[in-house]
């Protein structure tokens, strides 16, 4: 009971702090017509009839309340990316993981105690709706920030498509796309508007919060004419790290500190160069280098544009958290092999350890809460949610092998993890892992694992809940590159309180609100959602039958040919006999 008390006490403490305010946002999710790249007007998903959705700003210890009214014709849900949701798992957002999506026309309230600070974002977590525009920065101020600055700006990069996401998804997950080529964006955006400008006053220091809200693209960030230092990574303040450029992949966030120049004679360009390596091919009309402007004086000319040589550094070993936290030895270690292959639905799908993620019939959280003692049995969650049961306070290590030709940014809900090591190639466990030689590794919620390399992360399972772990390239998530961590299901049942409206919401959609992954009781998995598996590598029954028939046809043909030649054979045999007889006679005659 001790752990429950701790969790409840923590919760109580959070809500008792006097300064805390309740910050309410009313979000009507609506369709809007918009043209953010100036190239093509299209239908997007906005908030309150406005696109882009305005950013959310709160301070630590606040309670964030988002009243959602779903006014589009699809179910929807919202996920505050990077928020721990301690004891609040049912507000995390991923559809069919922690909730049924919000039915069209219905409303749903997210009530989220803010227990951390930094740069985050909020986005749709049902069917890739965030790619159609349902995304916005979520800035959490600290009461006393670690670093001093005069003002701050948010620079949210995103790739942009002209087609509706559902249309592109049908093309991506199709038998006609055997190589699994992701749809290529039409442009890149800053803050989802046609042209982004940031006013700088000479001598002042600015904090730039940089977010990548893309479906796919990775941006290289650099600023002409200014030096900067990285000061925050996904909610973790770090010791100042100076670099001329860095890459930021989908869903990652950084804050940098920039000091403005002392004169206003020029304006300068901010760069977000999309890395062409993320795209299957680069069309001629795609502008990879997205730019914004730092404006000192409207009248000033633009300083000449600089190029960057894209210096790379290892985030895990280079960035040092200000609040130190030692590496704790792991009590349990899992290896996840990420790969892509054509499965027996003939579609190129993503797998972790040969299993592709398929949504269950009941949200996994609801299964935990309704299955009593069976909630610790991974069977009840179905094979294709790929469940991992974690015990409360396990020191969990995950080693990710990226066996694919592409680079992937992986995201863990509900936690930050320590980045404890990286390696080349495939880690098979036969030799000890080579960890960083550090006592205070970087903590973040996104790990970028380049192609054919591996990475090791560690976190403590002290947040009871169902936490999704997946590649944050939206196409890959929908191709099944995800697993579900079910952290302390027994504790979850004691600590989590799910409002009955969540269950009613399921029923409104015709989804079973409780039960195992198949919507049944106990271990009866009949009717569970089953995903595709490997293609057969040899002959199937129909193959053998076909082969036999071809051989029969050939043999018949040859028999007929020999039969045809039979007359001739006989004739020749006769002739040969005659000649022999003749010769014999001649021989006798002599």
């Amino acid at each position: 009971m001790l752990f429950t008390t701790k969790v409840l006490a923590a919760f109580a403490l959070t809500s008792a702090v006097a300064q805390a305010a309740i910050v309410t946002y009313n979000w009507n999710i609506t369709y809007v017509m918009a043209n953010p790249d100036g190239l093509f007007e299209r239908r997007v998903i906005g908030v309150n009839g406005v696109f882009p959705p305005p950013p959310i700003e709160v301070t630590v210890n606040d309670t964030l309340v988002i009243n959602v009214i779903n006014q589009i014709d699809q179910p929807t849900s919202l996920h505050c990316h990077g928020l721990f949701q301690t004891g609040n798992n049912q507000m995390d957002g991923p559809s069919m993981v922690t909730q049924c999506p919000i039915p069209p026309g219905a409303n749903f309230t997210y009530t989220i105690p803010i227990e951390q600070h930094g740069t985050y974002w909020i986005h749709g977590h049902h069917q890739g709706q965030y790619v159609d525009g349902l995304r916005a920065p979520l800035i959490i101020h600290n009461i006393n920030e670690t670093y001093q600055y005069d003002a701050e700006y948010t620079i949210a990069f995103a790739d942009w498509y002209h087609d509706q996401h559902s249309v592109l998804l049908d093309q991506y997950l199709s038998i006609f796309n055997p190589s699994g080529a992701e749809p290529i964006p039409k442009s890149g955006l800053i803050n989802q508007i046609p042209s982004a400008t940031f006013n700088f006053v000479p001598g002042k220091t600015y904090r730039l919060r940089i977010i990548n809200m893309s479906a796919l693209a990775m941006f290289w960030f650099h600023i002409d004419g200014h030096e900067f230092e990285i000061i925050e990574v996904e909610g973790t303040d770090v010791e100042k790290y100076s670099t001329t450029a860095f890459h930021i992949s989908a869903a990652q966030r950084y804050s940098v500190l920039v000091t403005a120049r002392n004169d206003t004679s020029y304006n300068y360009v901010i760069h977000g160069d999309m890395d062409p390596m993320m795209f299957d091919s680069v069309p001629d009309d795609l502008v990879l280098n997205v730019t914004g402007t730092i404006v000192y004086n409207e009248a000033s000319p633009l300083a000449p544009i600089e190029t960057s040589d894209w210096p790379d550094f290892d985030d895990g070993s280079a960035l040092v958290p200000v609040v130190a936290q030692d590496v704790t030895p792991q009590t349990v270690s899992y290896t996840l092999d990420a790969a892509f292959s054509i499965l027996n639905d003939y579609i190129n799908k993503a797998t972790f350890n040969d299993i592709t993620y398929v949504m269950p019939k009941v949200p996994t959280l609801h299964t935990v809460m309704s299955m009593g003692n069976l909630s610790s049995n991974p069977e009840v969650y179905g094979k294709f949610t790929h469940p991992y049961i974690l015990n409360y306070n396990d020191e969990v290590e995950i080693i990710i092998n990226n066996a694919d030709a592409g680079n992937h940014p992986f995201h863990l809900h509900g936690h930050v993890f320590q980045v404890v090591g990286r390696g080349d190639g495939y880690y098979d466990g036969s030799t000890p892992y080579t960890y960083y030689n550090t006592t205070n590794p970087l903590r973040r919620d996104m790990i970028y694992v380049p192609s054919l390399t591996n990475a090791a992360i560690r976190f403590k399972a002290n947040n009871p809940g169902v936490w999704f772990f997946h590649c944050h390239i939206e196409w890959h998530l929908q191709a099944g590159l995800a697993v579900t961590f079910i952290e302390a299901p027994d504790v979850m049942q004691k600590v989590l309180t799910i409002d009955p409206s969540h269950y009613e919401q399921c029923e409104a959609l015709g989804i079973p609100a409780k039960g195992n992954a198949a919507g049944n009781e106990g271990l009866d998995m009949t009717g569970a959602n089953v995903g595709p598996t490997d293609l057969p590598t040899g002959f199937t029954a129909k193959g053998i039958v076909a082969l036999v028939f071809t051989i029969i046809a050939a043999i018949l043909g040859l028999i007929v040919v020999v039969w045809y030649a039979g007359d001739d054979t006989k004739a020749i045999e006769e002739q040969v006999k005659k000649i022999k007889a003749k010769r014999a006679l001649e021989g006798d005659a002599q």
Partner: protein, 334 residues
């Protein structure tokens, strides 16, 4: 197609060389029947025949070789994008030609008889031509085989050209040379009047083999057309990715891929029977339909043949005309 021995090319060269050798042996036997008393003249006329054959062979090899080289480089560059389409069309043409050739081989009960008839008629035609010059008369026994071999040789080169479009260059020389030698050997045996029964059986066997190869080519042609269609849908070279149209797929093995440089046996089977690790309803049905067409054709030929034999007139070999022709040539040389 990674083997070093291309079976289709072997059989094409074998067939053509055999025909050429038969022509030589028939002419030589004509001469030996007619020129009995004059050994020097006999030898001279025999030389004419051999030289004529050799010149014809060399010219056809040169022209044919040049044709194949130019064709392969031009065609490969121009038709890169529709490579599969062209491979398919050539496989189809080769299939039809080889099938016709194989059945024709079967039809002539005695190739020697056929050529005796053909050559005697050619000599007749030469005689009847107006203004046949002195030169032509003198060297008739050189020109005739030369033209015949040239024609046969160019025919062979065109077959080879069509078939080599999809073969690897290193698979050609060995197969071509073996085909040449085998054909020469057969001609020699025929000339020496060897075991006719064994020879006939050998011809039947090679007809069977040619049909097996042609059946494989038909399946390969269908496969090439289907690959081309799939490439166009998928927008890339599906061959490299090993991808195929899942609709209508019958088998897709992870082993036995003839395009795999390590799968030598699979490549050999592909050459000989048209084996592929990916089969579709199209290729399977096509393969079976090919054999049914062959079966129907052979049965039809059989009954046509039996009716013809019943009303038989044997192949007309005008021995007198042939004799007269050779005597005239000998006289011109004297």
């Amino acid at each position: 197609m990674g083997s070093v021995f291309s079976a289709p090319i072997f059989f094409i060269m074998f067939r053509e060389t055999t025909e050429a050798a038969i022509i030589v042996s028939v002419l030589l036997s004509f001469i030996s029947q007619v020129i009995i008393d004059d050994p020097a003249l006999y030898r001279r006329l025999r030389w004419h025949v051999w030289i004529g054959v050799l010149i014809g062979l060399i010219i056809s090899l040169i022209i044919g070789g040049a044709f194949i080289a130019v064709w392969n480089s031009v065609a490969k560059n121009v038709f890169q994008t529709s490579e599969e389409l062209w491979e398919g069309s050539f496989a189809l043409i080769a299939c039809v030609m080889i099938t016709v050739m194989a059945l024709a081989m079967l039809k002539s009960q005695d190739m020697q008889e056929k050529w005796r008839g053909k050559l005697s008629q050619s000599m007749d035609n030469m005689d009847n031509k107006k203004g046949v010059g002195k030169f032509t008369r003198k060297y008739a026994l050189l020109i005739l085989p030369m033209i015949t071999v040239l024609r046969e040789g160019l025919e062979a080169m065109i077959f080879v050209g069509g078939v080599t479009f999809e073969e690897e260059p290193k698979a050609i020389p060995l197969a071509a040379i073996c085909g040449l030698l085998a054909g020469a050997l057969v001609g020699f045996i025929i000339y020496r009047g060897g075991n006719r029964l064994a020879l006939h059986r050998f011809f039947v066997f090679s007809t069977c083999f040619l049909l097996v190869i042609a059946a494989g080519l038909f399946a390969k042609a269908i496969n090439a057309y289907e690959m081309d269609k799939w490439n166009k849908i998928v927008g890339g070279d599906a061959d490299d990715a090993g991808s195929y149209d899942p609709r209508g797929n019958v088998w897709a093995l992870s082993y036995g891929n003839p395009n795999d440089p390590n799968a030598g046996f699979a490549a050999f089977c592909n050459s000989v029977v048209g084996w592929n690790n990916i089969a579709s309803v199209g290729t399977i049905v096509g393969y079976i339909v090919y054999w049914f067409v062959v079966i129907a054709s052979v049965i039809f030929l059989k009954f046509k043949n039996r009716r013809a034999r019943a009303n038989a007139t044997p192949v007309h070999v005008d021995e007198k005309a042939a004799t007269a022709h050779i005597e005239k040539t000998a006289a011109a040389l004297a």
